[in-house]
C-alpha cells in the first residue's frame, strides 16, 4: 500500500495537517496556565495526547510512530512520575514533604505560585504519554482464539 492510501481521505488529512499544531499548542497552553486558570497538568496532558492520536487516526499508525515512538512515550511517562516524586522529596530538605519552596511571586502572573507549574508539567508528561500508550495498546493488540494465527 502506498503511503498516501493509508489512513483517512484527503479532506481529513488536510484538515488534520492544519489543526494538529494548534491542538498541541492549546494543550501546552492549558498546562502552562494551569495554576492561574481552569485546567492543569491532567487536562493539558490529555489534549497533548489527543493531538498525537489525531495524527494516528488520520494518517495511520506508521506515520504516527515516526513522530513519537512507543519507546519515547514510555520514557516520558516514567520521567513525568519521577520528576513529580523528586520535587516532593526535595521539599523534605526545605522542611516538609511536598513543601512549595520556590518564591511564590505575584498572584495571577504566569511565573508565580512556586512549584505548582512544575508539578503540572510533570503530570502532563505522565498523563499525555500514558494516554498515548494506552491508545496504541488498544489499537495494536487483537484478541486471538487458541490455534488461530495473527
Amino acid at each position: 500500500m502506498k503511503e498516501q492510501d493509508r489512513g483517512m481521505t484527503l479532506i481529513v488529512k488536510t484538515i488534520t495537517r492544519l489543526t494538529v499544531g494548534l491542538i498541541l499548542l492549546f494543550g501546552i497552553y492549558i498546562v502552562s496556565h494551569g495554576h492561574i486558570s481552569p485546567g492543569g497538568g491532567f487536562a493539558g496532558g490529555v489534549i497533548v495526547a489527543l493531538s498525537f492520536i489525531h495524527i494516528m487516526l488520520a494518517f495511520g499508525k506508521e506515520v504516527a510512530f515516526k513522530t513519537v515512538s512507543q519507546k519515547v512515550a514510555s520514557v516520558f511517562e516514567s520521567l513525568g512520575a519521577l520528576i513529580f516524586v523528586t520535587l516532593a522529596i526535595v521539599g523534605i530538605g526545605y522542611g516538609y514533604f511536598f513543601l512549595n519552596f520556590l518564591a511564590k511571586g505575584e498572584p495571577f502572573k504566569l511565573f508565580s505560585s512556586g512549584l505548582i507549574p512544575l508539578y503540572n508539567m510533570a503530570i502532563s508528561f505522565k498523563v499525555g504519554a500514558g494516554l498515548f500508550i494506552m491508545f496504541i495498546i488498544l489499537v495494536m493488540f487483537r484478541v486471538t482464539k487458541k490455534g488461530e494465527g495473527e
Binding site: S78, L79, A81, V85, T86, A88, I92, F97, F98, K146
Partner: protein, 499 residues
C-alpha cells in the same frame, strides 16, 4: 527531623518503581538490585519506626507544611507501626525470592515496577490520616494488584484478573460512596477531625448507612465469607511472590487494617457492628476450612486457607476486649509470615516440578529438603502446634472468646483449627512425604535466593511467639492493641500530637 521518616514509606517505593520502569530494560540486573535495596531500606525504616514510636509516641506529619484538618496528614500510631513492620519485612523477603523465581517470566522490570507501586499503595493506606488519601492509595495498590494477577497473560490468569478487577472495583465504589456520604455529613476528610465531628453529632441514620457500605467494601477487600468469591481465583493465578504478597499482606492492609481504622477510630465500634463482624468472622473460619479440605490444587488450597485464617483475625478483633484485639492483631502478623512462606513454598514446588496438582507430587522431601522442611514449619504454625507462632495467637483468640462468654464462637474456632491441621497434613502427605512419583526423579532444589527467603520466613515462624514478651518486641503488639482500644479518642490523640 525523625518525623520525615513517614513520607518516605510512600516516596521510596514510588521512586524505585518509576526508576525501574525507566532504566530496568536497558541495564540488566538493575531492577533486581533496585527493588531489593528499596524494600530493604523500607524494612529497616519500619523497624526504626517501632523504636521511634516507643520514644516519641504518636507522630503526625503535615504534608507540605499545611496543618490538619485543612492539610493532608500522615499519622503513625501503634497500629500503624505493627502494619508497617508486617508489610515491609514480608515485601523485602518476597523481593529477594523474586530475583530467582521471576527469571522464567519476560519483562521482569515491569513486574518490579508494579510490585513496588503496590507496596507504595499499601504503605500509603497504612500511614494516611486522611480519608480520601486512604481511598487513593487503596486504588493504587488494588489496580497494580489486578495487573499483577494477570502477569502470566495466560487464559486462566486473564480470567481471574478480570473477575478480581470487577469485584475489586465494586468494593472500591462502595468505599468511595461511603466516603462521599461521610464528607457531606461532616464537611471534613481528615479522619481525626471526622471522628470528633461524628462524636459531637451523636448517632444518626447516615452513619448506619456508611457502616453498611464500608462493611461491604472492606469485606470484599479482605475476602470475608459472603464476599470471598474472587480470592480463590485471583490469588493462585498470580506469580508465587505476588500470591504471597496478596494473601500475606494485601488483604490485611487494604481490608482488615482499613476496616479497623474506619470502624474503631472514625465511626466508633458499636456492639451491633462488632457482633456482625464476629458472625462473619466465624462463618469465614468454618467455610474457609471446609472448602480448603477438598482442594487438590496446592495454591488454591492455600487461598481458601487465607479466608479461614482472616476469619480468626476478624473474630479476635471484633470481640472488642483487650485480649481479643491483641490476639487478632498477633494472628494478623503471624498469618502474614506463615502464609507468605507457604505460597513461596508452593512457588518453589511449581518452579521445580512444573505442577500445582498435589496428586501429581509425592516424595519431594528427599529432592527438595529446604522447601519441604520450611513448609513443614509453616504448616505446623498455621495449624497451631506449639511452640510455633500460630499456636500462641490462636490460643489467645480462643481464650478471649471464652472470657467474653462466646462459647459457640470459641468451639467453632477450635473445630476449624483441627480442620486446618487436617488439610495441611494432606499437603505434607501428598507433596513431600511418601513415595517419589515417576518423572520427578530429576527434580532439583530451587536456587539460592529462593532458599534464603524461605529459610528467613521459617525462622520468623519459630521465633514469632517471642513477640508476646513485651521487652523483646519493643511493646509492638501492646501498642497496636492500645491504638485500637483507644477507639474514638483517636481524634483527640492525633490533634494532641500535632506540633
Amino acid at each position: 527531623m525523625t518525623q520525615h521518616l513517614l513520607p518516605l514509606f510512600v516516596a521510596i517505593p514510588l521512586a524505585a518503581a518509576f526508576l525501574n520502569a525507566l532504566l530496568g530494560k536497558k541495564i540488566k540486573r538493575l531492577s533486581d538490585l533496585l527493588s531489593a535495596v528499596a524494600t530493604f531500606a523500607l524494612a529497616a525504616a519500619s523497624i526504626y519506626a517501632v523504636l521511634l514510636f516507643k520514644e516519641t509516641g504518636v507522630i503526625v506529619y503535615k504534608v507540605g507544611g499545611w496543618a490538619p484538618p485543612i492539610g493532608i496528614a500522615m499519622v503513625m500510631d501503634g497500629l500503624t507501626c505493627l502494619m508497617l513492620v508486617t508489610v515491609n519485612v514480608i515485601a523485602f523477603l518476597v523481593s529477594v525470592y523474586s530475583i530467582d523465581y521471576m527469571e522464567k517470566y519476560t519483562e521482569k522490570w515491569n513486574f518490579y515496577c508494579l510490585f513496588l507501586l503496590m507496596l507504595a499503595g499499601m504503605n500509603g493506606v497504612i500511614i494516611s490520616g486522611d480519608m480520601f488519601n486512604l481511598y487513593v492509595f487503596l486504588e493504587i495498590a488494588a489496580i497494580s494488584s489486578y495487573a499483577l494477577v494477570a502477569f502470566g497473560t495466560e487464559h486462566e490468569e486473564l480470567e481471574a484478573s478480570f473477575k478480581y478487577a470487577v469485584m475489586g472495583t465494586l468494593a472500591s465504589s462502595f468505599i468511595l460512596l461511603g466516603i462521599v456520604f461521610l464528607y457531606s455529613f461532616t464537611s471534613t476528610l481528615n479522619m481525626a477531625d471526622m471522628s470528633m465531628e461524628l462524636a459531637k453529632r451523636g448517632p444518626s441514620q447516615i452513619v448506619l448507612l456508611v457502616s453498611v457500605l464500608f462493611l461491604m467494601g472492606f469485606g470484599l477487600k479482605s475476602a470475608l465469607v459472603p464476599f470471598h468469591a474472587w480470592l480463590p481465583d485471583a490469588h493462585p493465578s498470580a506469580p508465587a511472590p505476588i500470591s504471597a504478597m496478596l494473601s500475606g499482606v494485601l488483604i490485611k492492609s487494604l481490608g482488615v487494617y482499613a476496616m479497623i481504622r474506619v470502624f474503631f477510630s472514625v465511626l466508633g465500634a458499636t456492639p451491633q457492628v462488632l457482633s456482625i463482624l464476629m458472625t462473619i468472622g466465624t462463618i469465614s473460619i468454618i467455610v474457609g476450612a471446609c472448602l480448603a479440605l477438598g482442594q487438590w490444587d496446592f495454591k488454591r488450597l492455600l487461598a481458601y486457607s487465607s479466608i479461614n485464617q482472616i476469619g480468626y483475625v476478624i473474630l479476635g478483633i471484633a470481640l472488642g476486649t483487650p485480649l481479643g484485639i491483641l490476639g487478632g492483631l498477633f494472628h494478623l502478623l503471624n498469618h502474614s509470615v506463615f502464609k507468605s512462606l507457604l505460597f513461596l513454598n508452593s512457588g518453589a514446588v511449581e518452579y521445580a516440578t512444573g505442577t500445582r496438582d498435589l496428586q501429581k507430587m509425592g516424595g519431594l522431601k528427599e529432592k527438595m529438603p529446604v522447601t519441604a522442611n520450611t513448609s513443614l514449619v509453616a504448616s505446623m504454625s498455621i495449624a497451631g502446634i506449639p511452640p510455633f507462632n500460630g499456636f500462641w495467637s490462636k490460643m489467645i483468640i480462643i481464650v478471649a472468646c471464652v472470657q467474653a462468654g462466646h462459647f459457640a464462637h470459641a468451639s467453632w474456632a477450635v473445630l476449624a483449627s483441627i480442620l486446618t491441621l487436617a488439610y495441611f497434613m494432606k499437603v505434607q502427605r501428598y507433596a513431600f512425604f511418601g513415595e517419589l512419583k515417576e518423572g520427578l526423579s530429576r527434580v532439583k532444589e530451587v536456587p539460592l535466593f529462593m532458599k534464603l527467603s524461605m529459610i528467613a520466613l521459617a525462622v520468623l515462624c519459630v521465633a514469632g511467639g517471642l513477640l508476646l514478651i513485651p521487652g523483646l518486641s519493643g511493646g509492638l503488639l501492646n501498642a497496636a492493641s492500645d491504638a485500637v482500644l483507644n477507639g474514638k479518642d483517636y481524634g483527640v490523640i492525633v490533634f494532641g500530637a500535632i506540633k
